[in-house]
């Protein structure tokens, strides 16, 4: 029984990390109508920055704060220089341009940090396990669940209860009208892109102590994020949450049984959802 609980908690933690990645992707798609194939690469960058900050300062909390900000700043620069020119182009062009960006980030990361994976230690205060009766669970993984839950709430508040969120949502409906009403839409787009990508960077930091950093993880993360976004519905916040946790649970429950089977199931589910319910489980037509 406790094994199932262990796996379920693992799945929820993993799922919350998938949620962070996917919600960024889905916000960017919702507002900017932009398909970001470089999302997994920015996650990778977040992980590597965490590795560097932790090994230089020995402070994980500094990495948790700084790495996502650096990733978001880089994303902002990319948006201003490159992405901005592509908004008016068809989706296939978005995909190809960001595929190029992903390739550049991945290869640059390897030339900086080397082709061999790195490990990042959990902060000392969260090392070890927590004991509840005869049930043991790593403290860091519990922290990830709690922390991402707080982030999810904050994000929900930001999107649903603030002026910025209202503009983002209004922009998703009709960017032109929002622009005509006097909002500087380019600024809003750049900020949203940076926010979405920064969330991927944050996910990269959080995942680093659990899964390590591997230079070729970008495409895998990107694939999973698209599964989550497609199943949940493009542009849907709740969809990303439910989709993320579902994918995390399926992966975690199948790891001991048949890990490749989990991937087969997940991608199979993605295909079925697109064919049967193209706007996802929580998306709007």
């Amino acid at each position: 029984m406790s094994l199932y609980l262990f796996q379920a908690l693992n799945g929820i933690g993993l799922g919350m990390i998938y949620f962070l990645i996917s919600v960024g992707l889905t916000i960017i798609f919702g507002l900017l109508n932009f398909v970001n194939f470089a999302h997994g690469a920015y996650y990778l960058l977040g992980s590597y920055l965490a590795f560097t900050i932790v090994s230089l300062s020995g402070n994980f909390w500094l990495a948790l704060l700084l790495a996502p900000i650096v990733v978001a700043a880089l994303a902002w620069v990319t948006e201003k220089t490159l992405i901005q020119r592509a908004y008016h182009l068809p989706h296939t062009f978005h995909i190809l341009i960001t595929l190029g960006i992903a390739l550049i980030i991945q290869e640059l990361s390897i030339s900086i940090w080397g082709p061999i994976g790195k490990t990042v230690a959990a902060p000392p205060s969260l090392a070890g396990v927590i004991q509840l009766g005869d049930f043991f669970y790593p403290k860091y993984r519990l922290f990830v669940i709690a922390f991402t839950a707080v982030i999810a709430l904050a994000l929900w508040f930001l999107l649903e209860r603030t002026r910025f969120g209202a503009l983002v949502r209004a922009g998703s409906e009709d960017a032109q009208t929002v622009s005509l009403l006097g909002t500087h839409i380019h600024k809003l787009f750049a900020l949203t892109f940076a926010l979405g990508v920064g969330l991927a960077g944050l996910a990269g930091v959080l995942a680093a102590p659990i899964r390590g950093v591997h230079p070729f993880i970008g495409p895998e993360v990107l694939g999973l994020a698209f599964v989550v976004v497609v199943i949940g519905g493009m542009g849907s916040f709740v969809g990303a949450l439910v989709g993320g946790i579902t994918v995390g649970l399926v992966q975690s429950m199948m790891t001991t049984l048949w890990p490749q089977g989990a991937s087969l199931m997940i991608y199979g589910a993605m295909a079925i959802v697109i064919l049967m319910k193209p706007y996802g489980l929580f998306g709007r037509a």
Partner: protein, 335 residues
């Protein structure tokens, strides 16, 4: 005026490909490299039919490439198939896989179409990984033979030497190249272009666009399957990476950098990237950064790719030679 100059360029395309195929092994450092270029040019050709002529961005090309490689290898290892029957087997498997993927994927358009091909690509990879009894899993399928060229039991050529194998691949490449040209210049090819330009209008005229798209997929899959089989014979090995998403991406990048919408562009794209990889990978392992930059540059600034760039240079050259203005052309410009 414009049409005649265009057809004269088109007429030169098959001879140009033939010259490239003859010259390549002479100027390149190794025949194996030239063979690899032609194999990937075939894969890019298959991709080009979908992306360049039909406007379908498929991340599923690796499925057909890997599927063809496995089909040829397994049929040679377990069923003692000869060279041509193994290639035929790869072609059929490639076409069938493409029919399956295509039939489902073309039910959606745009981003959802791309996502479907992505999902199938990942499923094919994990399936190949899981069926390690057949595919060798992570280790790949070892000891893939390269049989002699035989027809009805009469041996025509032994292909063990890299020169002989190049000759065979080159002949096959030219055959498929001419076939692809016939396809795109047929009414069928024109309909594909019409679908690319405006699918709604093509279907309003009365074309069943999904049938055309499916057939484009099948042709593309068949060609890509053959390329995969040849690659396995070249390496004597069918690695799992054949069916990885990265393979689909590489084929796409070759097609786009070379130039979508022109068949010579596929040869040029495959040649450029395979050669770059061969020259640079030993001195600068991270040479793929160049690919990323080139991909962005081509998509944003040079949508017709390298071949498009060459074509417009050639045009400018011709115009400068006939500097005297053509009265007919001026009249056309006025009207």
């Amino acid at each position: 005026m414009n049409t005649t100059s265009k057809t004269s360029i088109y007429k030169g395309i098959t001879p140009a490909a033939l010259i490239a195929v003859i010259v390549m092994p002479m100027v390149l450092p190794s025949t194996t490299l030239a063979t690899e270029i032609l194999i990937f040019a075939l894969a890019a050709l298959g991709c080009n039919l979908l992306l360049g002529y039909t406007g379908l961005l498929s991340f599923g090309q690796g499925i057909f490439f890997g599927g063809g490689a496995y089909a040829a290898s397994l049929s040679m290892i377990h069923l003692n198939f000869g060279l041509l029957s193994a290639l035929l087997c790869a072609m059929i498997v490639g076409a069938l896989l493409a029919a399956l993927v295509g039939a489902l994927a073309i039910r959606r358009t745009g981003i959802y179409f791309v996502m479907l091909t992505l999902a199938f690509s990942q499923m094919a990879y994990f399936l190949a990984y899981t069926l390690s009894d057949w595919t060798g899993g992570d280790n790949g399928l070892l000891d893939v033979p390269r049989p002699a060229l035989e027809i009805f039991g009469i041996q025509l050529a032994d292909l063990t030497s890299s020169q002989a194998f190049y000759g065979f691949v080159a002949a096959l490449f030219m055959l498929i190249f001419i076939f692809a040209r016939r396809v795109i210049h047929s009414p069928f090819g024109s309909t594909l272009v019409a679908i690319r330009e405006n699918e709604g209008r093509a279907s309003a005229i009365g074309f069943s666009t999904s049938h055309f798209k499916l057939l484009a997929f099948v042709i593309s899959g068949a060609i890509t399957g053959i390329a995969g089989a040849l690659y396995a014979m070249l390496l004597n090995f069918a690695p799992l990476s054949n069916i990885e998403l990265m393979m689909s991406e590489n084929i796409l990048i070759m097609t786009i950098i070379g130039g979508t919408g022109s068949l010579l562009g596929s040869l040029l794209g495959a040649g450029t990237i395979v050669m770059l990889g061969d020259i640079l990978s030993s001195i600068w392992p991270r040479w793929m950064i160049i690919l990323g930059i080139a991909l962005i540059a081509v998509v944003l600034f040079m949508p017709a790719g390298l071949w498009g760039g060459i074509e417009s240079l050639m045009k400018r050259f011709r115009e400068s030679k006939t500097s005297e203005p053509d009265p007919k052309l001026q009249q056309e410009a006025k009207s």
